[in-house]
Amino acid sequence: MAEEEVRLFRTWSSPFALRAIWALELKGVPYENIFENLSSKSQLLLQYNPVHGKVPVLVHNGRAVCESLVVVEYIDETWTQNPLLPEDPLERATARFWAKFGDDKVMQSIWDLVQKGREEQEAGLAQAIESLQPLEEILKGKKFFGGEKIGFLDIALGWLSNLVPVFHEITGLKLIEEERFPLLSAWMKDFSGFPTIRETLPPHDKLVTKFRAQLEALRAKSRSQQ
């Protein structure tokens, strides 16, 4: 096998970069972390991702792959040990469908919610909870979304397991209550507690500080625009 060079451009906190990291770690692929400061992006990052200038970027033997879920599928197809996507075409389509739903609906409604002021949070909370409901349904009879093992959809939704507790602390709003979401609550613990995953998670307190600051900056900006 030819000499492999795998580099991952990331930040310490990016949930999108974590997807690529989880895929690489679960497959035991050696890689080099390249930490970026997004307020002062490196020349290399802009060269490898000229369209978006975002992380993650996977550089494999000098060739750049961008967009987190595209990166995860690339990793899955290139290093075939411990497959992440199932083999059956319908199961693959279903995993991809829910991954997209997670990004387009769940992430969006949760982020909208945490940005709102206290007064508007009630309505936002209802919508966020509604978006989580289907995920509880599809976990029936399973430990992970991938079944017995962590798979593509677990990786796509994994951000829930470390960011929902952060948002809970910042807003005081309980998004995923054990009574309403017993399966999702158990999955969050199982996923973030899985040894390979646990070692990659950014520290909770540091994330709380970061998101508090980010949300305050967003609120200040929208106040000054009124």
Partner: protein, 230 residues
């Protein structure tokens, strides 16, 4: 499994539905087209896609697949004999997926941005944005096609389908606004590619005629300008 009956829930003006049709045509898969009427959603649609209630929905035997690009990949994986719609090289495949995501996330919103613009200033800005994105896609064509006729190489492929489905709406937009968006002077490669794509046997019968689409667009855009009260 490949032999089960195939139905496609859709509507003739929808570029997203067209993606599924082109994919089925490329694989020579016969299917029944179930046309949804604009403004209403059939029971079958609500049952088949309860999450989004949107077309297209592929009904393959008792299997349901939603989301146009996911449907295209499903078709590619089920009817796997013959040339694939995604490149066989894994890096090229990732590149095709990257640009398909760009089409959905950047291109499509910019195109409907023109229709949604409420005044001349906003319209001009929206047109400018579409032109910028087309310049990026012209560049992407060079990289993906590697000197061949389509984004996918010698044949219509995944990215050709992802982008080409919008050509009817693009022509309508050009006509209604008196602008040239894809042209031989500004985007020469895309201009040639557009002609070849629309002439392809898998495409030409499902690409709506510009005039018919323009008539439909007038009805639709009237709704944007006077949205029904919530």
């Amino acid at each position: 499994m490949a032999g089960d009956a195939v139905k496609l829930l859709g509507a003739w003006p929808s570029p997203f539905v067209m993606r599924a049709q082109i994919a089925l045509n490329l694989k020579s898969v016969g299917y029944e087209f179930l046309e949804e009427t604009l403004g209403t959603k059939s029971q079958l649609l609500l049952q088949s896609n309860p999450v989004h209630k949107k077309i297209p929905v592929l009904i393959h035997g008792d299997k349901l697949v939603c989301e146009s690009l996911i449907i295209v990949q499903y078709i590619d994986e089920v009817w796997s004999s013959g040339p694939g719609m995604l490149p066989s090289d894994l890096y090229d495949r990732a590149t095709a997926r990257f640009w398909a995501a760009y089409i959905d996330d950047k291109w499509f919103p910019s195109l409907i941005g023109i229709a949604k613009a409420q005044d001349d200033g906003a319209k001009k800005a929206a047109i400018e944005q579409v032109s910028e994105i087309l310049a990026v896609l012209e560049d992407a064509f060079t990289k993906c096609s590697k000197g061949k006729t389509f984004f996918g190489g010698d044949r219509v492929g995944y990215l050709d389908i992802a982008f080409g489905c919008f050509l009817g709406w693009l022509r309508v937009t050009e006509k209604m606004n008196g602008v040239e968006l894809i042209s031989r002077s500004k985007t020469p490669q895309l201009a040639q590619w557009a002609e070849r794509f629309c002439a392809d046997p898998a495409v030409k019968d499902v690409m709506p005629e510009t005039d018919k689409l323009a008539e439909f667009a007038k009805v639709l855009f009237a709704k944007f300008k006077n949205p029904p009260s919530q």
